[in-house]
């Protein structure tokens, strides 16, 4: 056996030579790759010319997504169509942990316009705020924000972004006469502001293939609404081309569907497309996005102004996913978008409660505070956030604070000049 050092080089060279001369060294593999490439190009170039766009939408949406759309339009889903916000919680529902009252809120008690405590807080935001099915009503952050002086109603709704929080306040919540409106959102996640059709910006949410209104910044920097009529527009999905025409003109995420038509059908191009989308999503999550940030702060300003006109104080609750909470390993080398943006919000004059800081104050590890998906919270996490909100509300309203609450306020209320938690 030839074991001299040169043989190691020979071995590698031999492999590379054969790989570059695959036609001779491995004709079957070569022909298979060529055939695959031909199929890929044919699918990418020729198929879109003969197959209608609606058929692609049919393939793009899973069976579960199409069924969910039908149920949503017919009113059988747990979320119902809403012209103002796209969708909202179906009122008076009780399914396992998911208990919604007649107002459409997930609350620990029964609250109406007549009976109320000294202070009424309304929570709004996504499923991270409402707790989804992982917690009971008594384990939500709003329940933990309550005390003898404070009652809290939780209007958190699946997949709401801040634009929908604002629209929800305007259309449905202002009449409840809250003292404090807590708008929960993730400063690092702006895809919801960017898109209108959920399957385009969050394809994995197969149970919520819904349509939402969107804002865009006008030339004068004010947000302009692009409204939707979800029941009507989703009724023909996937066969009615009207929805696709609307999205083509109005939804910046439409490019995802266009690229699917060209590249999503075959393994190599599909794999490349998938890699590109992931890389793009990752870069978006760590890079500045001045346009979206301006839109976000413009909406925050409008919400604050609108609530202020009603005598309602607005608190912006900055929530974080588990990978932002932990920031360990490689993630620690990346920019702290959460910290940076919350500090910027503070500089612009918004009142921000840092949910991430409240979680870190517990000293508990990520797996004690987050459920398996790394997005939704356990009861322990909700307790930490709820108590933090309560402390800030009590401080703002000059109510008595315990020493622990004073400490919490210092930790979670973002002070301008600090970089957040």
């Amino acid at each position: 056996m030839n074991e001299n050092p040169r043989s190691e080089v020979d071995q590698g060279v031999s492999m590379w030579k054969q790989l570059f001369n695959l036609k001779r060294s491995s004709p079957l593999l070569f022909q298979t790759l060529v055939t695959l490439l031909v199929i890929e190009v044919a699918a990418s170039v020729m198929l879109p010319l003969v197959i209608p766009e609606t058929k692609y939408l049919d393939w793009y949406l899973s069976e579960q997504a199409e069924t969910a759309t039908e149920r949503f339009v017919s009113g059988e889903h747990l979320l119902v169509p809403d012209r103002a916000t796209g969708w909202r919680n179906r009122p008076s529902v009780a399914v396992e942990n998911w208990v919604i009252d007649s107002l459409g809120s997930r609350s620990s008690g029964t609250y109406g316009s007549e009976s109320r405590k000294r202070v009424r807080i309304l929570f709004s935001g996504s499923s991270a705020v409402n707790g989804a099915r992982m917690v009971t009503n008594q384990e939500t952050m709003s329940a933990f924000a309550e005390d003898e002086d404070i009652e809290a109603l939780n209007f958190g709704t699946m997949m709401y972004s801040l634009d929908q929080v604002f629209l929800s306040y305007e259309a449905h919540l202002r009449e409840l006469g809250a003292d404090v409106f807590v708008a929960g959102f993730n400063p690092e996640g702006l895809s919801g502001l960017r898109g209108q059709y959920v399957p385009l910006y969050s394809r994995g949410e197969e149970n919520m293939p819904f349509l939402k209104p969107r804002f865009r910044l006008g030339s004068d920097g004010t947000p302009e609404l692009i409204p939707v009529n979800p029941r009507e527009q989703l009724d023909g999905v996937p066969h009615d081309p009207a929805l696709l025409d609307f999205l083509r003109q109005n939804d910046p995420s439409f490019g995802v569907f266009s690229s699917y038509r060209r590249m999503g059908f075959t393994p190599i191009f599909g794999g490349l497309r998938s890699l590109f989308l992931r890389a793009n999503g990752f870069l978006r999550s760590i890079r500045d996005d001045p346009g979206m940030e301006r839109l976000l702060t413009a909406l925050m300003a409008r919400l604050e102004a609108s609530a202020g006109n009603d005598g309602t104080e607005t608190l912006f609750l900055a929530l974080a996913h588990r990978n932002s909470f932990e920031r360990s390993g490689l993630r620690d080398l990346l920019p702290d978008v959460h910290g940076k943006r919350t500090a910027e919000f503070c500089r612009l004059g918004f009142q921000v409660v840092d949910g991430r800081a409240a979680l870190r104050e517990t000293g508990l590890p990520g797996n004690a505070l987050y459920v398996g998906d790394g997005i939704h919270y356990t009861p322990e996490a909700n307790r930490a956030i709820g108590e933090a909100v309560r402390a800030v509300v009590r401080a703002n309203l000059d109510l008595e604070l315990t020493p622990r609450q004073q400490e919490l306020v210092r930790l979670v209320k973002v002070q301008c000049g600090t970089g957040g938690s």
């Binding site: 590698g12 004709p27 593999l29 022909q31």
Partner: protein, 473 residues
């Protein structure tokens, strides 16, 4: 890491490029490191166990070989067996025997409390233990000389393509390959990739589609479904377990081939079998060969009287059943197959004594034989799938007269999956009777089929990956 995942594909790409730039010695070191990394990805806590098993058998192998007397040779072999089987027995069977002992003691009037331990089952322990045993026993039998390199032996025990679910590779089939120089050949890459693709197709599409859409929902609540649905689910389970296990074996064989190694075949179109004996020569061949060579022949095989032979069969099938799982349903399954073999042997002996063996090659014999054989195999699978005898009885009873009337809507893809295994076996039948047919297929047709499989898999593969069935053994 599951073979049918992107993680494994990425792992193999890295292993491939690094491996083929190294010389033989460093290749073996790298294979060992990669194998341990592969295993650690499953459960790093049991790396020490595989290392202990490796070291023990390596040392015992040398002690056996270097011993001058037969007595001391036997002593070292028995010691290595005790250690290997002791480890296997503890991790796999402690709780089973403890619970069984308590059950029996209580049944005869002795009051004994349960004393089970919270023991985790190390992945692949049944497979790598048997491989290590084959090494020391073959040295004892003077069929093999011990390897001088601990690295080579450790790489053999831990070789990642077959570490967690076989094929069970004997030391004499593999260790010499580690000692020889391996040169990269495009033909090996091509053959390995195509074999891997076939296996991936069988597992990711055929097995998982049938499992998710038919077998799992019906077996979860058999009382709700009609008899016809239960029969369909049983056939589905029979197809699923073949596609799953043979698919895994194909991926293992393909992965090894990409690295220049040849490991033995594990399946030979078992559903073509016209007798139970033939079935066990076609199904999980490396395991049945192992039990034949190290248990059945060790007990005397068929060298004694007919009744002694039957006893040896009963013991071997008992051990085989127990190997599959620490449960009485597995033991019963093993014994059921033992009974099948005894019936089959007796039947064939009766026909041969009547001087009519040629009749057994005619269709009049073969078709009913095939039907009976497949029916017997199918029905035995109920025990294999059931958690208890009660569950098995409920299912079996339901197949005759079910209290439920429910049916299941079987998606088209499930029928496509069934069709794929039918084509697979027709191709197998053709390859045995008309091998020239396969050789005549043009290259471009084969390339088109492979490319089509890749595109089909991209669309038809279920989103979630079911674990391999034989990983639990």
């Amino acid at each position: 890491m599951n073979f049918a995942t992107v993680d494994y594909l990425a792992f193999m790409v890295v292993v491939f490029f690094v491996y083929w730039t190294l010389n033989r010695r460093w290749q073996n070191v790298f294979i060992l490191a990669a194998s341990y990394l592969f295993y650690a990805n499953w459960d790093w806590r049991f790396l020490g166990l595989i290392a202990v098993s490796t070291l023990t058998n390596y040392v015992c192998g040398h002690l056996i070989h270097n011993s001058s007397s037969q007595r001391s040779r036997k002593l070292w072999m028995v010691l290595s067996l005790l250690i290997s089987l002791g480890i296997l027995g503890f991790f796999k069977y402690f709780n089973f025997f403890a619970v069984s002992f308590v059950g029996v003691a209580n049944a005869v009037g002795f009051h004994v409390s349960y004393f089970t331990l919270n023991i985790l089952l190390p992945v692949g322990i049944s497979f790598y233990t048997f491989q290590a045993i084959s090494y020391t026993v073959d040295i004892y039998r003077k069929e093999l000389e011990p390897t001088s390199s601990l690295i080579d032996f450790a790489a053999f025990v831990a070789f990642f393509p077959q570490l967690v679910a076989g094929p069970i590779v004997r030391a004499k089939e593999f260790v010499f390959q580690l000692e020889e120089k391996r040169t990269f050949k495009g033909e090996d890459l091509s053959a390995g990739l195509s074999r891997f693709l076939f296996g991936f197709f069988k597992k990711s599409f055929v097995a998982d589609t049938i499992a998710i859409n038919l077998v799992d929902p019906v077996f979860a609540s058999p009382g709700e479904f009609s008899s016809g649905t239960l029969w369909l689910a049983l056939v589905g389970w029979t197809v699923q377990i073949y596609a799953d296990f043979s698919g895994y074996s194909s991926m293992a064989i393909g992965s090894a081939r990409i690295l220049g190694f040849r490991i033995p075949e594990n399946f030979n179109f078992p559903y073509l079998s016209t007798s139970i004996a033939q079935y066990w020569r076609r199904w999980h061949m490396t395991m049945s060969n192992f039990f034949r060579d190290y248990v059945y022949i060790g007990l005397g095989g068929n060298r004694g009287s007919f009744s002694r032979t039957m006893l040896n069969i009963a013991i071997t099938t008992f051990v085989s059943g127990l190997w599959h799982g620490a449960g009485w349903t597995f033991v019963a399954w093993g014994w059921l197959h033992g009974l099948y073999i005894v019936i089959n042997q007796t039947w064939r002996r009766w026909w041969k004594l009547r001087g009519k063996p040629k009749f057994m090659t005619t269709l009049v014999w073969l078709i009913p034989a095939w039907i009976i054989t497949q029916l017997a195999i199918c029905l035995s699978r109920i025990l294999f799938r059931s958690q208890s005898f009660g569950d098995a009885w409920v299912f079996l009873k339901g197949m005759g007269a079910s209290p439920g009337m429910g049916t299941i809507e079987v998606p088209t893809l499930v029928w496509v999956a069934f069709g794929c295994i039918l084509i697979d076996h027709i191709a197998g039948w053709l390859s045995e009777r008309r091998p020239e047919v396969g050789k005549g297929i043009p290259l471009w047709v084969r390339a088109f089929v492979f490319a089509g499989m890749v595109v089909f898999l991209y669309h038809a593969r279920p989103a979630s990956v079911d674990p391999f069935i034989y990983f639990q053994f």
